[in-house]
């Protein structure tokens, strides 16, 4: 950015604030079919890193100019996709997306599922889940869909029971019907979970944060086998579903090169394989 352009931008914004006129300082992405500049949104972490190392080069070979946009909350990647600030995102599972589409009346669709780091139960203090004592503290994600998912995993482990008729994406601590071990649930911001291992007895951590923290999925006491609803998806606007760029994105994820990368990368050990690789 040269300084003249920069000054122009600053004055434009200040003016726009004064007059609250809608000014398009940074033009929206052009919607022609020959789209060659794509922006893909992620939460900071392994999905973004894998894309940068192994998917982006494939797209660049095809002549695309690719920009990675990283967010630090789970609301923005979808709203930015809807308003055209980005063209695709890879951070959510279909259940979370459905909730967003209903809530925001948005039209975001799944293209394909990508290799997913499963949710697991971890502990620094115990070697087995069976050692869980009465009144144990268990930390888990505070965001709605992962909190529900963590409760489902606790139920699978036979530690609690939740209401049978509850939506597996919306369950909260209040929906626990049986808790014989009197487990204390400690909801935390997801990146905090690996750090909480020193203070709690067990922690239920999503795979991407496990990997980011330098732990291994194989350290887990219990891993979920992510059912289809919990696998991470590559998502685009409904209108772009059949555009060439969307097809090329999906193809890059499905490619042999990316598969080889995931199978051999140290940090991708334990990722669940999508159906098209089975």
């Amino acid at each position: 950015m040269n300084s003249f352009n920069f000054c122009k931008k600053v004055s434009v914004v200040v003016l726009a604030l004064a007059l609250t006129l809608s000014v398009t300082a940074c033009g929206k992405t052009n919607q022609n079919s020959e789209k060659k500049n794509i922006k893909v949104g992620f939460l900071a972490g392994p999905y973004s890193d894998q894309f940068k190392r192994a998917v982006q080069p494939i797209l660049e070979k095809k002549g695309y100019k690719v920009e990675i946009v990283e967010f630090s909350n789970a609301v923005q990647p979808n709203s930015s996709l809807t308003d055209g600030s980005i063209d695709a995102n890879v951070f959510q599972h279909i259940g979370y997306l459905k909730g967003i589409n209903e809530k925001d009346k948005s039209d975001i669709v799944e293209l394909i599922k990508v290799p997913t780091a499963p949710l697991g139960i971890y502990s620094n203090k115990f070697k087995k889940l069976s050692e869980l004592k009465e009144g144990a503290q268990v930390s888990l994600s505070s965001d709605a869909s992962n909190l529900a998912r963590s409760l489902v995993l606790l139920q699978q482990a036979g530690l609690i029971k939740i209401k049978p008729d509850i939506d597996p994406l919306k369950a909260t601590e209040k929906d626990i019907t049986e808790n014989p071990k009197k487990i204390k649930i400690v909801p935390l911001d997801a990146p905090q979970l690996p750090r909480s291992l020193a203070d709690v007895d067990y922690s239920i951590i999503t795979g991407n944060h496990v990997i980011a923290a330098g732990m291994k999925l194989s350290d887990s006491l219990l891993l979920e086998d992510p059912p289809a609803i919990y696998q991470i998806i590559l998502a685009v606007r409904g209108a772009d579903k059949d555009k060439p760029f969307a097809k090329d994105l999906a193809e890059a994820y499905k490619s042999k090169e990316f598969r080889t990368f995931v199978e051999n990368d140290e940090k991708a050990k334990g990722f669940s394989k999508p159906d098209y690789w089975k």
Binding site: V13, K28, V69, N73, D83, S85, A213
Partner: protein, 220 residues
């Protein structure tokens, strides 16, 4: 160290983003927050242009915005951001909510600075028949200058750290880099590098601000 060297392009980009965000929000703070602070002062009780209603409305608005947790303010201003800039990501977009937060922040500090101007000086100016405009420019703003500069310094330093949260709306910047690599990716080295950068920036702003304020202070 290798990590930091390989991150250099990202770090440089982040520095640029932080500077954009701080410059825009501070410009907005001065252009709109300054007059807001002056109005808050003038319309207050027993003052040059006492106006209960106007003062109440402005106070209410300032308190409303200032009581928002910043991250919530960021998210609730998304529609406005889109209207003004046509996008919700990037430093320019993040500057919209930063500006909205900076205006009342600085406005309050300006109001406080003006309150510290001795009444006697203002009364003397009034008795010479000076009009309000003259009093604002030649008396209030002149007398309060050192304190206004200190207030602006505090605002700039605060908004350097506020801009870190703007990463939540894809705003980028040095603080956001620290959050994305330090908090989300456990890369302490990158985080430390970012914090050192921010420290240098804050030190610079603070020392320039402090020396300017003391030079303007007639009492020294």
């Amino acid at each position: 160290m290798n990590n930091i060297i390989s991150m250099l392009p990202e770090i440089l980009k982040a520095i640029e983003q932080t500077i954009i965000m701080v410059l825009i929000s501070i410009s907005a703070a001065v252009i709109f927050g300054g007059p807001l602070g002056i109005l808050l002062y003038l319309t207050s009780e027993n003052n040059l242009h006492e106006s209960r209603t106007l003062n109440r409305i402005m106070n209410y608005l300032v308190n409303l915005i200032r009581s928002f947790p910043f991250i919530i303010l960021l998210l609730s201003l998304i529609p406005l951001t889109r209207l003004v800039t046509g996008t919700t990501i990037g430093p320019i977009a993040a500057s919209v909510s930063l500006s909205v937060a900076a205006i009342p922040f600085f406005g309050r500090l300006v109001e406080q600075s003006l309150r510290e101007v001795p009444r006697g000086i203002i009364e003397a100016a009034i008795s010479t028949g000076a009009n309000t405009w003259f009093i604002i420019r030649r008396v209030l703003l002149t007398e309060a200058r050192p304190s206004l500069v200190s207030g602006l310094t505090v605002t700039i330093v605060s908004f350097i750290s506020y801009s870190a949260m703007a990463g939540a709306v894809g705003g980028g910047g040095v603080g956001d880099l620290a959050i994305r690599y330090g908090y989300y990716r456990f890369q302490t080295d990158i985080m430390v590098a970012c914090i050192v950068l921010l420290l240098i920036l804050v030190q610079l702003v603070q020392s320039v601000g402090t020396s300017l304020a003391s030079r303007l202070d007639k009492r020294n």
